[in-house]
């Protein structure tokens, strides 16, 4: 099968998401589609999958023009998609998820689940995708969930399979395993489109690379010969510094001390299970780990958002374990939350309002019960300038800003106070390279000014680049502590997967 995208253009109100994109893919090859967040990769693939319709341009399969009105049409034409956010029903079994939409039935629409299970087992065996058809999705680790997504696509007899940022949620070992699966799919004659912004991965797995920038194909590359710097420059449009420039850390007195902390998650599992560590002034401690190993609960406990079951948290010697978020906040703690849109910002508030979300209740932004909007605006103008937030005005609702600029609003708000301890969760998730560089720079600057900083990230490269000390979390415990210069991503990856030292 041969798929061709010809002159695809997609206009959203005020935005040109795709601009005359041409793309070709044949059976039995892996096409890498490289681009930054916001470059238009996902939009392009949603057009291919029938979720959006293109403003202009054609999709051709074996030379014939296709008209996809819905994903159903695309599936019927042999296109399968593994979405960045898995499209699985958490309370359904593996088999139910696989057959949903094309269920094998007996008379009168009665489900034939035996057949469904048999089909799942058959595909599992054929492609080496081991999974229990009766397991419930929400009990499975993400790596296995991804396998279910792949089985789902294969069950629909897809010939061209699109993977949208498939490695974002995987451990380094799972990534290796995933590449093995992708190669075997290619060898079985499937055409693969692999979307990513990770330079190493695309060079490792792709047969050809197309680079998308600002909605346009800006170049092609041969993964065997192209260098990492060259590829990065093609993707961003300017030379990129791939390492974070920072001096040797100069740790001072302990600021955050955590002792034997146990925190329950929403289902009452001890997702933080007896964690102890210290963060000193003037150092960056990074917590690495696959998502869901207790990082979220740990950060929530440190910032007062979740009550710890037992253990002690001290800030500069003072016990704050049972303090409320505001009390902790007033003890000079800054928090850059994991999900900026849900817990970092009020999306329908303006930039100026979001910049005082943590301090509106006090001088100088309010007197008694009355807000001082003049001061609030003054503050916003100064911070927007200092932190380089690209916004048409401080009166714009933050939901209209790009992800990078939304994150800068949060960083500006949190860092503009006198801060002793900063906890930043996934500080650069989903951002473009420019914003990532900027935020990393700010964090290092904060450290050099004597701040104690805790970074939580599932991006191993980020943890390696920023941290002075790395802690690896696995199933609620800290399983390893390393300095970045005495380890590498492979070793950390093993710790993240639960391998322990003897």
């Amino acid at each position: 099968m041969e798929l061709e995208l010809k002159g695809i253009t997609k206009r959203f109100p005020g935005v040109l998401a795709n601009d005359r994109v041409n793309l070709e893919i044949k059976s039995g090859e892996i096409l890498g589609l490289l681009g930054e967040n916001g470059a238009g990769k996902t939009t392009l693939m949603n057009i291919l999958y029938g979720l959006y319709s293109a403003t202009e341009g054609d999709i051709l399969i074996d030379g014939r023009v296709q008209d996809f009105q819905s994903p159903g049409d695309a599936i019927a034409a042999g296109i399968g998609m593994v979405h960045q956010h898995f499209m699985l029903v958490p309370v359904f079994s593996v088999a139910e998820n696989v057959v949903l939409g094309v269920e094998p039935t007996r008379a009168a629409g009665i489900l034939n689940m035996e057949e469904a299970r048999r089909d799942v087992r058959q595909i599992s065996a054929k492609y080496g995708l081991e999974v229990d058809p009766d397991a419930v999705i929400e009990d499975l680790p993400v790596g296995i969930q991804q396998r279910v997504e792949i089985i789902k696509v294969l069950f629909r007899q897809a010939e061209i399979i699109v993977f949208d940022e498939p490695t974002a949620v995987l451990t380094p070992q799972e990534v290796e395993e995933f590449f093995g699966i992708v190669r075997s799919l290619r060898d079985a004659g499937k055409g693969i489109i692999f979307i990513t912004h990770k330079l190493d991965e695309i060079r490792e797995v792709a047969d050809r690379i197309n680079v998308l920038r600002r909605g346009r194909i800006v170049g092609e590359a041969d993964p065997k010969v192209v260098g990492k710097e060259e590829l990065a420059e093609l993707m961003v449009g300017r030379p990129v510094e791939l390492v974070v420039a920072k001096e040797e850390a100069n740790p001072g007195a302990p600021v955050l001390e955590v002792e034997d902390l146990v925190v329950l998650d929403d289902r009452n599992h001890p997702n933080v299970d007896g964690v102890s560590f210290t963060v000193h002034a003037g150092e960056i401690v990074g917590i690495a780990g696959v998502q869901g190993n207790g990082q979220t609960e740990l950060v929530e406990a440190l910032t007062g958002l979740r009550t710890a079951l037992s253990g002690v948290v001290r800030l500069s010697g003072e016990v704050v374990t049972d303090d409320t978020p505001r009390e902790i906040h007033r003890k000079s703690v800054a928090h850059v939350p994991e999900d900026r849109q849900r817990s970092g910002l009020v999306l329908t508030f303006t930039v100026a309002e979001n910049l005082v979300l943590d301090s509106y209740y006090d001088e100088p932004f309010s007197r008694g019960v009355v807000m001082d909007w003049g001061r609030t605006r003054e503050n916003a103008r100064a911070l927007v300038e200092e932190y380089d937030v690209r916004t048409p005005s401080i009166e714009v609702e933050v939901r209209n800003l790009s992800g990078g600029n939304q994150q800068k609003v949060i960083v500006a708000r949190e860092f503009s106070r006198d801060v002793k301890f900063t906890v930043a969760s996934q500080p650069t998730r989903g951002l473009d390279v420019g914003s990532i560089e900027y935020i990393h720079e700010r964090i290092v600057k904060e450290r050099d000014a004597g701040g104690a900083i805790l970074i939580v990230s599932t991006e191993l490269d980020e943890v390696m680049a920023l941290s002075d000390r790395i802690l690896v979390m696995y199933r609620g415990k800290i399983v390893a502590e390393r300095r970045p210069d005495e380890t590498d991503t492979t070793k950390l990856g093993l710790f993240m997967a639960g391998v322990t030292e003897t």
């Binding site: 699985l88 359904f92 949903l100 094309v102 199933r475 391998v499 322990t500 003897t502």
Partner: protein, 422 residues
């Protein structure tokens, strides 16, 4: 280096859970004290429970118990439960034990009320089934809608409209046409809800409340302007008579309670079974549940989210309309202003209590139905409790149940959220 062995994650008890567990334990002890002081002390005479209805094929002797003795035993049992709950807890069985305790208290209460008199237990449970009919239909309607993630607060209005048209059309064209009219008006109101909630993404609670207010207003107006003056021609419908199921109806005790009723009760059994089967064993059910849990996933697999929501909400409305017709065609024979009296809301509570499962909903509705029948039967026994308090019984039980005695039930993940296609 060694590979990690996979172990099942430990489950600890959160502070909130420990607190809840303690509170339940203390409640047991307080209930034990209450039973002791109010039911046991100073109560004399035997309570006679009739276990067979008149006309049953098999005779069963009456159950005669000493009211005070029963109360002492119950108080001791509750204190025992409280002790265990406070010391080691019941773990997973907490809710089952709680249900058992409630049943014991209810029975002790009946013993106290019937001390020195005679109470037909079989008649009371029969009435329980009857009273649970509109609640079950309301709950089933809720299950249909919420399984596809549309909250239907308008069930009350649909019941009431079904009752009204059941009476009006039933009087003119016969009871079957009355039922049909009830089903149609329920479907019509649900269609209005569906358009507001799905197409225009109006807040679903508000849309439902509007339907309730509309239904109450128009039925009350039409009652006073038309039905009252023509009550002989327009508001007198032939009701369905009870029909005893052969064999099943002759089972001692169980038979008269469950299998000697009219068409609506059997319709309720059938509908519960059909919806349970359809939701969990058919293609339609799998897709419906997917639409309620993760509409976007369903959409990416080519399932038409909107079509499923429209269809199931309208079907849900028709079920509520059918249930509403019971009030007039199946029970009273005439329409009365606001005769549904909150049964639609209690139905929603039964849906939650029954964890969005048709069979669970029926079980929950029976609990509410029991509370409802208490008031009818106890009024005859002349207990010292004022009638007004007995009238409150079903609502009080609803509040207790919904306030979290059952713990946290998990609704469909997308419940109440409109789906926006990008």
């Amino acid at each position: 280096m060694t590979a990690a062995t996979a172990t099942a994650p430990r489950v600890l008890r959160s502070p909130a859970e420990i607190r809840r567990s303690r509170i339940i334990g203390i409640i047991y002890l307080m209930l034990a004290a209450f039973v002791l002081v109010v039911f046991a002390m100073g109560t004399e005479g035997d309570a006679t429970f009739k276990l067979a209805a008149t006309g049953d094929r098999f005779e069963i002797p009456d159950l005669v118990l000493s009211a005070a003795g029963l109360s002492y035993v119950a108080a001791a049992f509750l204190a025992f439960l409280g002790g265990i709950q406070l010391t080691r807890g019941f773990g997973k069985a907490t809710n089952i034990i709680l249900g058992l305790a409630m049943a014991v208290i209810a029975f002790t209460f009946l013993g106290w009320a019937a001390a020195g008199k005679s109470l037909s237990l079989v008649g009371m449970l029969q009435l329980t089934v009857v009273k649970s009919v509109p609640i079950t239909f309301g709950a089933l309607s809720g299950v249909m809608c919420e399984r596809v993630a549309v909250i239907n607060i308008g069930i009350e209005g649909m019941l009431l409209s079904g009752a009204f048209l059941g009476a009006l059309i039933g009087s003119v064209a016969g009871p079957w046409m009355g039922i049909l009219a009830g089903i149609l008006v329920g479907g019509l109101l649900a269609f209005a809800l569906a358009v507001l909630a799905i197409k225009y993404r109006v807040d679903q609670i508000i849309a439902g409340v509007v339907i309730n207010i509309f239904a109450l207003g128009i039925t009350s107006y039409l009652t006073s302007s038309i039905l009252v003056e023509n009550s002989d021609t327009l508001n007198r419908v032939d009701i369905f008579r009870a029909w005893k199921v052969p064999l099943l109806g002759d089972i001692p005790f169980i038979g008269p309670i469950f299998f000697n009723h009219n068409f609506f009760v059997y319709g309720m059994y059938v509908l519960v079974a059909v919806i349970a089967f359809a939701l969990f064993k058919t293609r339609w059910g799998l897709r419906s549940r997917a639409v309620g849990e993760h509409p976007k996933a369903a959409d990416t697999l080519g399932i038409n989210v909107f079509r499923f929501r429209y269809l199931n909400v309208i079907l849900g409305g028709m079920i509520a309309g059918f249930g509403g017709a019971y009030f007039t065609v199946g029970s009273a024979g005439a329409f009365d202003e606001n005769m549904s009296a909150g049964r639609g809301f209690i139905g929603l509570a039964a849906m939650i209590f029954g964890r969005w499962h048709p069979v669970g909903a029926l079980g929950a509705a029976l609990v509410f139905g029991f509370a409802d029948s208490l008031q009818a039967k106890l009024a005859i026994l002349q207990t010292p409790i004022p009638g007004e308090f007995l009238l409150m019984a079903p609502y009080i039980v609803t509040v207790i149940v919904v306030a979290g005695v059952v713990g946290r039930a998990r609704p469909p993940a997308a419940d109440g959220q409109p789906y926006v296609k990008e």
